[in-house]
């Protein structure tokens, strides 16, 4: 790691002000630090300051809260809520199981105890060319995506490039199907829907999100989605980056699916909504396995796998079907 200053922000506004001031040449926001420290160790970033937001709420994150209005329930997390707190929250488990499951499926107990909700949303991709200092790829100002001619087993099967990363966030697909919103300070808006938080590489390859410099995520809200589920398929199921993942939110009329929202992860440079699958799931019974399989098979429409990752075409419908079953409260291995 290069030499840097740690500037402790006393609030999110303070963090934003430090970033926007000319006090430091290259300040980087840090919360749990899992991804920031990784970038520093790899020599990918050489900031002169880490602006530490861990103490922005006085040392401990605000508790997870439910807000009820006119019969509708919404949940509020702090930006600093850890993945473990999300995974083990009985409120989240009841109101949005997909979110609790997505947090519990990420990384290891050690990482989940430190990694924050906002950090999970804003972590950088895990592409091995991006993560290796030796490859001057598009994301680092180079002129090509090495995955195209190189090793692309873990890369995208959707999207037109020119960069073929998959977005690594576990929480993002779950928040996409639950109407998640990121609350902001330091800019000219108070919030941004998670559905608008990310952009595809053709709209800017150097970053993945649409936040402006100095904008800081302070909290995340989502709608209750009690019939929701998440499923990730990994090479090592207990601890790995997902090969594919799926989050599903259902509205059920008995056993009939009245409405379905489906979002896939680890298959595209952004969380990948699959409206055609949601449409096909409508009116299918959750006990009709052939009907579910037929609907989930639509997930790969429009996919363009690379040389080494066509296997994801087989995995994705399976992950979605299992997420649907979990959303309906069924046991899935």
């Amino acid at each position: 790691m290069n030499r840097f200053t740690i500037a402790t922000a006393t609030s999110y506004d303070d963090a934003s002000a430090i970033v926007k001031s000319d006090r430091f040449a290259l300040p980087i926001l840090k919360a749990g630090g899992m991804d920031v420290v990784d970038h520093l160790k790899e020599g990918l970033w050489e900031p002169d300051a880490l602006v530490d937001v861990l103490r922005a709420e006085g040392g401990a994150a605000a508790p997870i809260q439910e807000h009820r209005e006119a019969g509708r329930s919404s949940i509020r997390l702090s930006a600093l809520t850890t993945l473990d707190e999300i995974a083990t929250s009985t409120l989240i488990q009841a109101r949005c199981p997909a979110l609790a499951q997505s947090a519990g499926s990420a990384a290891t107990p050690q990482v989940r105890n430190v990694a924050t909700a906002a950090g999970n949303l804003l972590q950088r991709p895990r592409c091995w060319y991006y993560r290796s200092k030796d490859f001057d790829c598009l994301k680092k100002g180079g002129d090509r995506c090495y995955a195209v001619q190189g090793l692309n087993r873990y890369h995208a099967i959707f999207g037109d490039g020119p960069c073929h990363i998959v977005h690594p966030s576990n929480l993002a697909p779950a928040l996409m199907v639950a109407g998640g919103v990121a609350h902001l300070t330091g800019g000219d808006r108070d919030s941004i829907p998670i559905a608008k938080l990310y952009h595809t590489p053709d709209r800017g390859v150097r970053d993945e999100h649409n936040l402006k410099p100095g904008e800081v995520v302070t909290a995340i809200t989502l709608n209750a989605a009690p019939n929701s589920g998440f499923y990730a398929i990994k090479e090592k199921q207990s601890f790995d980056w997902p090969l594919v993942m799926a989050a599903v939110a259902l509205e059920l009329d008995g056993t009939r699916i009245a409405n379905a929202r489906v979002c896939a992860g680890a298959v595209a440079p952004v969380p990948w909504m699959l409206p055609a699958v949601g449409q096909a799931l409508r009116d299918v019974s959750i006990d009709d396995d052939a009907g579910l399989k037929a609907a989930c098979a639509r997930a790969t429409q429009g996919a363009a796998p690379m040389s080494d990752n066509a296997y994801k075409l087989k995995l994705l419908p399976v992950a979605i079907r299992r997420a649907v079953l979990k959303a309906a409260g069924k046991e899935v291995e």
Partner: protein
């Protein structure tokens, strides 16, 4: 971890020679380590003078090395560190507590696991500055005097180690698991220890050690309860 980043060479910072004459390898290295730390601390203190603020007085730490206080195993350690120092480095190289191991240095193997305010963390991925004001427990803090913690006793009884390098991390993960869940199921044990990699593959003996430490029968069939 089946991580998608390249693996990294782990630098060796341990002297290779072992003296003879009643000095154990460990005590020799601890002495060497301590004098090195003392020498470093002294030169830094001389260079910085007493005017160098500790991090508790200000919202800015660095870029020059500065003093922090870490509470480790109930004792307060005053350390002079660079802001880029990880908790693992602060423990091993500055506080001379070498029980915490460095292996992958990327939070993927669990060998450096310690408890921070009772929560299991990989100390290689946490800046030491983040642990200021918190209670840190390392493997050295498990035993009470000469009396080992029950999880340590159980590891010994079940021969839950081969080369032993992952053992401090697995002990801390087991301790954290049992603090949260005094009677975990086999599946919960596997999940609780999923962030710790044992290259020798001694998982089954570790699982049995945790089962017995939580008052449950060890498994005869190492493949699991249903195998």
């Amino acid at each position: 971890m089946p991580d998608q980043t390249p693996s990294h060479h782990v630098p060796s910072r341990v002297p290779s020679g072992v003296p003879d004459g009643g000095v154990t390898r460990r005590s020799f290295m601890r002495t060497v380590g301590l004098s090195a730390v003392a020498a470093t601390a002294q030169t830094q203190a001389e260079r910085l003078g007493d005017a160098q603020p500790s991090t508790e007085d200000t919202n800015q730490f660095g870029p020059e090395p500065g003093r922090i206080r870490l509470k480790i195993n109930g004792q307060t350690h005053q350390l002079t560190i660079d802001p880029a120092t990880t908790l693992m480095e602060a423990l091993r190289w500055h506080a001379a507590l070498a029980g915490t191991k460095e292996v992958c240095d990327r939070g993927a193997c669990g060998a450096c696991s310690v408890l921070v305010d009772g929560r299991l963390v990989t100390s290689c991925m946490m800046l030491a500055h983040d642990a200021v004001g918190k209670d840190i427990t390392t493997v050295e803090g498990l035993a009470k005097g000469e009396r080992l913690d029950p999880i340590q006793e159980s590891f010994i009884r079940h021969d839950a180690l081969q080369c032993g390098y992952c053992t401090p991390g697995l002990l801390m993960a087991s301790k954290a698991l049992l603090s949260d869940n005094p009677r975990p199921t086999f599946e919960q044990i596997k999940q609780g220890l999923s962030g710790n990699i044992c290259r020798c593959g001694t998982y089954t003996n570790v699982f049995n050690a945790v089962l017995e430490a939580s008052g449950q029968e060890p498994l005869r069939d190492p493949e699991g309860p249903d195998a």
